[in-house]
Symmetry: C2
Subunit: 338 residues, 2 copies
């Protein structure tokens, strides 16, 4: 079912069909009718692949993610809520390489899709810098370092400070931190927030209590296990994202530690899943839906050729207190004594 079929059926040339489909003028009303009728009858829809190759624009925007996991799909829903009221269509692409090395997935995905299939894109947690190009691009929670494209993120520093303060408030002193992906600015800021929060409370950070979890539950498993089997194990863990916080609770369970009785755990992100764990996870909430929506609004502005006045949008984070954090054992006396 191609444009040629339609042309033959309607008794015109493919060029004429193309004009009718794309609403170009210079076609007799009668011919338009006839072609439209055939298009409808045959249910013809032009192939994105072919169209995109020839035409400059496709009317399709992309949300490019490393993987389809809770974080990125929340963003996707937010982006969709905005784009659905625009004339653009939306696709999402998971560019993470299979098992192997994830670095540069965004560049590969972009090379693959930009220019041909999509007219603009939102990059979710890109790990490497994109040169400013004419291709409309918005980054969400981007990499460390100077940024050349408009971006949206949450107040990672403030959120991490709040998380740390919450644990300190509960009387914890031996607090572990499970770092995120070192290539991401968010991970850097969350660690910085943790350290600042500890310093503000007059607490030293024990280097053995800081491990790298990479935001990834699988890669985080060993560091978590190491942390929880330490001779002098922490009474609280601040994991840089919910996925690794949840993994921490699982491993604690396997080791016979009760959360929050023996161990308090706090995460970051507030993905929907964090409310479903037992006990429900205390975490720092990022407005993921709003982040996706804000990024899409910026992208649409870019598409319209507008200059985005504020190229870097930062949204608020909030402490979401649930059940996975509790006063440290002997906390009250400690604090009174200290």
């Amino acid at each position: 079912m191609t444009i040629t079929d339609v042309a033959r059926e309607a008794g015109v040339s493919v060029a004429t069909v193309s004009k009718v489909i794309n609403g170009r003028d210079g076609v007799a009303p009668a011919t338009q009718e006839r072609v439209h009728a055939v298009v409808t009858r045959l249910g013809f829809v032009s192939s994105l692949g072919a169209r995109s190759l020839r035409a400059q624009r496709t009317g399709v925007l992309g949300v490019l993610v490393n993987e389809f996991e809770p974080y990125s799909t929340e963003i996707l829903k937010g982006a969709w809520s905005v784009v659905r009221d625009s004339p653009y269509e939306l696709m999402s692409w998971a560019g993470g390489t299979h098992g192997g090395d994830h670095t540069g997935w965004e560049r590969r995905s972009l090379a693959r899709l930009a220019g041909t299939l999509i007219d603009g894109a939102i990059l979710v947690t890109p790990s490497i810098s994109e040169r400013r190009t004419s291709f409309p691009l918005v980054a969400i929670d981007p990499h460390t370092g100077p940024l050349e494209v408009p971006s949206v993120d949450a107040d990672n520093l403030g959120g991490a400070l709040a998380a740390t303060a919450h644990l300190v408030e509960l009387g914890h002193r031996r607090i572990a931190f499970l770092c995120g992906r070192s290539d991401l600015e968010s991970a850097r800021l969350r660690e910085q927030g943790f350290r600042k929060g500890m310093a503000a409370a007059g607490l030293e950070v024990d280097p053995s209590l800081v491990r790298v979890g990479d935001y990834d539950p699988e890669r985080a498993s060993t560091p978590i296990r190491d942390l929880l089997t330490l001779e002098d194990r922490p009474t609280a863990v601040f994991a840089a994202n919910d996925l690794t916080a949840i993994r921490t609770m699982e491993i604690a369970g396997e080791l016979g530690l009760r959360v929050p009785g023996d161990l308090s755990v706090i995460g970051f992100d507030n993905i929907p899943e964090s409310a479903l764990t037992t006990p429900a996870l205390t975490t720092i909430g990022q407005p993921l839906h709003d982040i996706g929506a804000a990024a899409m609004r910026m992208l649409l502005a870019l598409m319209a050729g507008e200059d985005v006045a504020e190229p870097h949008v930062r949204l608020r984070t909030t402490l979401v207190t649930r059940e996975s954090t509790a006063p440290a054992v002997g906390a009250r006396s400690d604090r009174l004594a200290g």
Copy 2:
């Protein structure tokens, strides 16, 4: 950055570059080296649009949805969890037309993408029948009527029976049902389950308590409001999906009704959001992640040319009791009297 750039840089023809990229043999090792080096240096990745036009296969599978909402993104995550360990890449496409009429979105999306961009697809809640074609296709929670493609769904009938029984158990007699999208088999089965459940309890279904919510919170608002402002309003509402159940709780709140004190509400799906409402929503859980995963496994089998032994997979549903349902006022005496 095209294959021509690479060819020029490497001092060979585009044909040779193409062969090297695609691992075809008949290229001198030295030439391969040289081309690979240039490809890496320039970061060249072939354009999906162009490649798909010419080649028979792209190595990309698609999850085609009407919209990116909680239901479809849960499926997406499940599908991803399987495809990530396969050689295929994954894209997702939201085919819902903007505001207008949604019928036939799956056919349009398929026409747009199949054959060129993607090698196979999972259709999430397709509303119209697809003829069996050579194009690998798996449907999730499909339309009413005879099915020509492999499909995956949950035990909608059993789930609806359980939901109804739960409300009856709590002593409710005036139970309203908010129907789903009439074009979907799931909606038909859930209504059937409701009616069977009522009959089993010896309860009559009051026709004025059965309204159409279309699975859509916006379209459901008026029917819900009508239901809750009825002279003799129901003491419990069974909504055909969580999204409209949540909307029911919102509207109840606006009308000054307390849930579950004045009104019990039960949903269907157990999307993550249902645990986050206040009160948390009692619902029938579908294993959405597993459904997506099962569909992807079937699709991969199809891709491998295997005959799927069991072309229709049905997964279990479970009652998830949370806070939005409670005994009907005066229930105990009613039941004893009855």
